[in-house]
């Protein structure tokens, strides 16, 4: 039996793109946060060296168009040299964020790095440690920030016993778009490709686990709370074209999380101190053993431990302290909690940095369920909410009412700096808040009569 070839599949490094850090952060923490994107890449290279891989694939968006930095360039250079010192070749395609037309290399990359061009598909053969040719690498970089053509259609390797690996930066969206339109099905049925090394989507995802494997390694380090969970790269061991083992190798020193705490479960909370203690307790649990941070794929044997967690608490539920303490004081309480939590948790190991606290609590309303069924007004209010959620047209009207600062995104990556996408989840949460607001107002008015 032949020995497996091993490679690291990564992408979307977004070198130079910083972590979103807001508020008062200690110098130590600030450094850890700032360096985390670099550290993640160093971890990838460490993994490549530790697992003694045959080659490394980087599938686009190595740099970030919005964060082009010399420091990033120098850093990548250094890391590539580390691989070069061990004779590990690296194959790179550029994506929409770093298309070849907007070259961002200020320093010549070392000889072990092969950047695949944008003009046509390029193909290279790679050998295993014994020097025997075992696989082919195919790929094409973006020539411009958008790629509307189905460039993958030109990926035509010979059909033999070599393992054909295709590098492609795509949103895997079959509709007309600017990130190589294609569908999972299309790739699944593509002839002679045994591994689709994709880039563009930041969540590690195994689209198809065999024949062919279609996988996104995700971003090596989440940059904001929207990129929560443990991030990393993929370690692939291929014994044959149809025998592949794909494992997730964690690399993100910092893990973003959105712990959701419903105060419905803690009716005994009587003041902000109690709330603080509750959050500290939850925070310590996360710090001790974070659960639910791993992606849905098998994990490579690894003793990796994150340096820390960046969390945005979401506190909801109906509780007496809402009326007594929270209502009307949200900004102050949020700020206080952030400060207290950071004082108490940010020096742990791993640390837990509270990036933000989102208070979505509401007043306790006795017999709410009964009222929602029987009370004419509240029943109607509830019905309207349901109608908004069910009736698309009505929902559109509601979204319009939210203000021009909100927009409906066409794709997940459709992000803007000064306006906000109304995702389904976001809309539901805002609608719930609005419903509670209206409900409380009506009930409160009645109580005053």
């Amino acid at each position: 039996m032949q020995e497996s070839i091993r490679f690291i599949h990564t992408g979307d490094l977004h070198l130079g793109s910083p972590l979103k850090t807001v508020g008062k952060v200690s110098d130590v923490l600030q450094k850890s946060l700032r360096e985390s994107t670099y550290k993640a890449i160093e971890n990838i290279v460490d993994a490549a060296l530790n697992y003694d891989v045959d080659f490394v694939l980087m599938c686009g968006d190595i740099y970030d168009n919005e964060s082009r930095s010399v420091k990033g360039n120098l850093f990548l250079n250094t890391q590539m040299k580390r691989l070069a010192s061990k004779g590990i070749p690296v194959f790179i395609i550029y994506g929409n964020h770093d298309s070849i037309g907007r070259s961002m290399d200020f320093f010549k990359l070392p000889g072990n790095v092969k950047v695949l061009g944008a003009e046509a598909v390029e193909m290279y053969e790679v050998a295993d440690k014994s020097g025997r040719i075992r696989a082919r690498i195919l790929g094409q970089s973006y020539g411009a920030p958008s790629e509307t053509k189905k460039i993958h259609l030109n990926y035509k390797p010979p059909e033999d016993d070599l393992i054909n690996i295709a590098m492609l930066h795509t949103g895997l969206d079959p509709g007309p778009n600017t990130y190589v339109p294609c569908s999972p099905e299309e790739l699944k049925n593509f002839p002679a490709i045994h591994y689709w090394a994709l880039g563009h989507i930041h969540a590690p995802t195994i689209i198809n686990d065999k024949n062919p494997v279609i996988a996104y390694p995700g971003i090596p380090q989440g940059r904001n709370v929207g990129e929560s969970g443990l991030k990393g790269c993929l370690l692939v061991e291929a014994a044959a074209p149809d025998q592949m083992k794909v494992q997730f190798v964690p690399t993100s020193p910092i893990v973003w999380l959105i712990p959701k705490i419903s105060l419905d479960l803690y009716p005994s909370l009587s003041d902000i101190g109690d709330l603080e203690e509750l959050l500290v307790e939850q925070g310590q649990k996360i710090s001790a053993a974070a659960s639910g941070i791993f992606p849905d794929c098998s994990l490579a044997e690894n003793d990796f431990k994150p340096e820390g967690y960046a969390v945005r608490w979401e506190i909801s539920g109906r509780c007496p302290i809402h009326d007594d303490l929270i209502a009307g004081n949200e900004p102050e309480i949020t700020e206080t909690l952030e400060e207290l939590l950071n004082q108490r948790l940010s020096t742990h190991k791993p640390y837990l940095w509270t990036e933000g606290v989102k208070l979505r609590t509401a007043s306790p309303i006795p017999d709410l369920e009964f009222l929602l069924k029987k009370d004419e007004t509240l029943k109607t209010l509830h019905a309207i909410r349901q109608k908004i959620q069910e009736d698309e047209k009505y929902k559109e009207e509601a979204i319009s009412a939210m203000g021009e600062i909100w927009y409906k995104p066409r794709r997940p990556e459709d992000l803007r700096d000064d306006t906000f996408p109304v995702t389904a989840e976001r809309f539901d949460s805002l609608l719930e808040d609005a419903f509670n607001l209206a409900l409380e107002r009506i009930v409160k008015e009645r109580e005053e009569q």
Partner: protein, 953 residues
Amino acid sequence: MKLLRIYFKSFGILREQTMEEIHPGLVIIAGPNRAGKTTFMTALRYLGYGLPRKDFIPPSLTGQHDYNADVELMDRSRYNIHILGNSKPKVSPLGSWQEIEIADIFHDLDGFTYRQVFTISLDELRRIPEGLAGKEEQNLQVVLLGGGWVDALRLEKFKAEFDKLARPIGASKGAKNVAGFKTYVETIKEGIEERNEANKQSETYYEKKQELTKLDEETIPRMKKDLQDLQMELETLEIIKDHYDKYEKFLLLGEKLKRNDHLWKTYPEGGHEQAVQLREEYIASVDEYEKIFREYSAAAGEASPDIFLEKEDALLGYQKDLSGWREKVAGYRENKQNYLDEKKVLKQKLGQLNEKWGHDLTVLDEIAVDLVNKANLRESVDKYRKAADKKERIPPEKALAQDSLDTKIKEKKQLIEEDRPRAKNLFHLAGLALIAVLLAVFINPAVSLGVGFILAAAIYVYYQSHQSKEKEHKSQLVLVDKEIDDLRKQLDFLTVEETALQEILNTVGEELNQAVKQLKLPSNTPFFQLVDFYGEITNLKERYGLWLKRKEKLDVQYRELEEIFEEITLVLGSLIQGIPDIDKDFSVSEKIFAAVEKAVDHLGLAQELKRADTNKAKLQEKIIALLLEENPELEISLDMPPAELLGMLNPFISRGKRYEELKKEAETYENINLDLKTSLNIEKRKKTLLRGETEKDVLLAYDQHFSAYSSLEEIERKYGEIAGQEEILERQKRSALEKRTILETEVQYLSSDEKLQAAHQKISTAKDKLEILAERYATYRLAEFLLDGVHKTFIKNTKGSILNSAGDIFEKITSGDYKQIDMPTEQTAAVSILDFKVKQAGIENPQASFQLSRATKEQLFLSVRLSRIRNIKPLPVIFDDSLVNFDPAHSRQAARLIAKMAETHQVFVLTCHPEFIKHLQEQAASAQHWCLDNGKINGPFATPAETISLLNP
């Protein structure tokens, strides 16, 4: 559901009050103001729902609220509803009826709707026109209020509140660049610009890096090289300048030395100084010689100094011995005198000792003192003298002892005689005393006693004395006897001793006579003088011996002096004239000694003269040697007179002076040469001057640079020019270096992502804040949107069945004045401007709401409310002075409607208006009347008499 009985144990003003057998239809409760009507209404309002903890609930005066009611449902089942405190109503079946929930009794109707629909109060009616905005709106509210949709009435207010909250955040449309959003959006915009700027820094980095490389590898090194050349030139000029004067002097001195080369080479080194000194010494030596020569001639005359010099040793020896000789001569004279004096004394002493001996001293040689032993002689003389002395003393001693014996014998006889008369004296005295006493007794007995006593004492004393004398007398006799005996013995002893002494004198006398003969003394010489004579003769003989030795010594001295004087006179004879001959007493010795001294003086001068001459000759030799040193061919003799010699020496000295000057200049020349070399050999200067030609002589190199300029001014001018060029170039270089530093910092800065990070930070911070605002804005707007939906739903519902039946009621209340209530069917965008219209009898066009009077509005309100009640399963209806604004006709109509309603519903009318009671009484088939006054309930009454009288006292 209908109330059968109600019991207030404690509820506000109502305490321990009961209403039994309550009428199932119309129940009229009359009471003046503040009687407890509103309390009663409140109790009924919350009977099915429990009392809330609100201010409008009347306070419980005793513990907690407590009241209960028996009710009958449509199926005739009966239950008790108990309200205790703020707990939920407790339902208990009255009898065997099955357990049910309170909601079942109240047909699942929520408390709010029950309170709003089934309770019609004056307050509610009064509120119609108040708190609402536009006219159209007001009228719509009437409908809604009439319908019990109070919430719907408030929805607009809530919407307005949310709008008010939303506007400062995002104005009306929530556009990103307005109101509260604006600041953050602008910050984000700035952040984006900064980010773009930061992103551009990559390109800038590359450009700057290239620029930096060019500066580092090309521009700055070239400038440095040029600058180095200029600085080298400047340094060279500086060196030339710094050494210019010195080097110029060096050249001049070199020239001068060259010109005086002959003198420089022939003149002896140190010659000048030597010549000057020799000249001085030579002149002095000539002077000295002449001076001594004069002194010598004056002292010694024509005599050649050599004759003295020949006797130099002898003369100098005499000079040394001269004082010794003088002492010797004096000593000899003194000794000779002493010798003569002693001779005289010896002769005199010899004569004194024994005249017979005369003055011939030789007699002493014949006395043999050796034969006599001095000690034996002295002993014998002593022995003889002592025996003679002792014998001489014995005869007187014998005579004395004989005298004493005689005296003692006489004394003894006398003692024996004296003892007898003394005993008689005692008796005499005693007798006299007795007589005296007796006499005294006779004269005076007192005195006699005293006299008696005194006499007795005297007798006693006398007796005692007598006794003592007697004793003494006896002992004296014994003593005298003993003495007489002793004296006799002594006389015998003395006679024996005298004989013995005479024998000794004879023997020793013989020995001593022999000694007198041996010492040649006269035979009568007393023995006791023998020892002294012996001593004097011995002494004289000794002195005589000494005198003889002195004579011998004096002879020796004479001979010695005689020899000395013989030698001196011999030596001086050829030098000094007139030396006297020596005599026996050396009386001319002083003259001879003076001649010696004179000869010595002359010798001294002769010696001086000889030394001066030698000195002069030596100097002369030296001068000649010096002159020959300069010019060996010079003709010169050793015996050249001083003046001539000096005539040659003086020009030599003049040349010497010039030579010395040249020497100094040569020294200066050498020093300058050395200075120059030392100074120019300093590494930096050397390097500058040699320009790489390391083998070249540095002074030569200097000379080459020096020779390129004709004057110091020319050098200064050149220096100025180059310094100017250097300054310009230095400035350029500094500027290039500064630029490089800036570029380095820039490159360093550009290679970091700080700016980018800062921009991102700015964006995310602002975005975070903006997001919070956007969410709040969205929440308010969505809440508004929801409320709007509810509002529209209410309108829609109101427009349906309610308005139709309400139209009928309205027609009846208005006695047919108004026939129909209508609302537009079309959906309008703004609910708030939705209006209704009523058709008045005889008027074609329906009237808009704002055209109605207040009373008509109230009638409309009542119509809609009653219509609504009709559409809900029956529950007790409560009117609390609701229809006060109706005119009598309309009031009557309203009473009719209420009476009509009492047919299907239990209706409680709480009023303080007797007129209205009358109207109700007229209209209703049956009614029950109750009085309520100050919390006391009285009734029931079948007629209104009691109630009317209560209200019209």
